[in-house]
Amino acid sequence: MSSIAVTINGESRNVAAMNIEALLSELNLSGRKLAIELNRELVPRERFSETRLSEGDCIEIVQFVGGG
């Protein structure tokens, strides 16, 4: 299977996923309360499956943690 090189949360990764939904599944993050930016643009949840990934993409995946 082919893979593409992307940056996720500042780390370089080779991933097989071709869209955001598949990426979350590949990272074992499916079904979690999180939010995603692709190249600094917010990706609405309903567009996870249609948002395609390309070589060199920069992805941020965030969640809620303890804070004041």
């Binding site: 993050l29 309360k33 995603i36 995946i61 969640q63 809620f64 303890g66 004041g68």
Partner: protein
């Protein structure tokens, strides 16, 4: 008597809160303790932060799952750690997309040592985010002019600091807080610097609508007991405010009758 001053409540962002204690979720030993302390506090609003998922070791545990059975709990995501307008806006938008509603604690830090907010950028962030449908709760210095500008920018409440974040120093300038309370048309929530229940009570006695505290509870030796103490302090302060304190006098005034003394 109910759990607060007899049906007394405040409203912000279209929601009504019967608890005037808002808590944070940082600095606890674990999520179980966060949950226990939150339950003990009686809080109906809790702040959370937005951070990157560790993709090499994604923890299975979720803070929000631990808090899911706390009654009537509104999640208030913060933009803590942001030093620029752009990062603040991105963080707020990400938080909303993660699906906990439209509330955001707007925090743009201007100084690393004091963690004082950059008020100008905070006001601007409130303007932009309010236009995008957020209910903004800006963390600001205790400056009445800044508080007014936040209101004009559409803020749902204003959150002046009592003292630096995490310092536990208590209310440092009660005159500024009184000016803010006097003029405010939105709830005034004292945020940051509360160290003990007596600090919290003081803020409420002066007429603050609520207080937000994290470290004072989480960094206590027994956070769950301190959460109960903070709840009691907030309720005492609120009741004292409603009751109206006695006037201060320069000299003594005997409490027992002056007449009928034995001879």
């Amino acid at each position: 008597m109910g759990n607060t001053a007899g049906g007394d409540s405040f409203s912000a962002g279209g929601k009504t809160f019967s608890s005037r204690l808002i808590v944070g979720s940082g600095k606890y030993r674990n999520f179980a303790q966060t949950r226990e302390a939150t339950l003990a506090s009686g809080a109906e609003m809790i702040t959370v932060a937005v951070r990157r998922v560790n993709i090499t070791d994604p923890s299975k545990e979720s803070l929000l799952e631990y808090l899911s059975d706390v009654p009537n709990l509104t999640i208030l995501p913060n933009t803590a750690g942001c030093y620029t307008l752009e990062d603040c806006l991105r963080t707020a938008r990400l938080a909303r997309e993660a699906g906990v509603g439209n509330f955001v604690k707007v925090e743009v830090i201007g100084d690393q040592k004091t963690l004082f907010p950059d008020n100008d950028l905070t006001i601007e962030a409130c303007r932009i985010l309010t236009n995008e449908g957020f209910f903004c709760f800006p963390y600001i210095t205790d400056d009445p002019v800044v508080a007014r500008k936040c209101e004009d920018a559409g803020a749902a409440a204003v959150m002046p600091l009592a003292a630096p974040i995490g310092s536990g120093l208590g209310l440092q300038n009660e005159y500024n807080l009184r000016f803010i309370i006097e003029q405010a048309r939105v709830p005034v929530i004292v945020d940051a610097g509360v160290g003990t229940p007596s600090d919290a009570a003081r803020c409420l006695e002066l007429g603050a609508d609520a207080i937000l505290t994290n470290s004072a509870i989480a960094c206590a030796d027994d956070p769950v007991m301190m959460a109960r103490a903070m709840k009691a302090g907030v309720e005492a302060g609120r009741l004292a405010f409603l009751a109206g304190r006695m006037p201060k006098k320069m000299y003594a005034s005997a409490s027992s009758p002056q007449s009928g003394l034995i001879e």
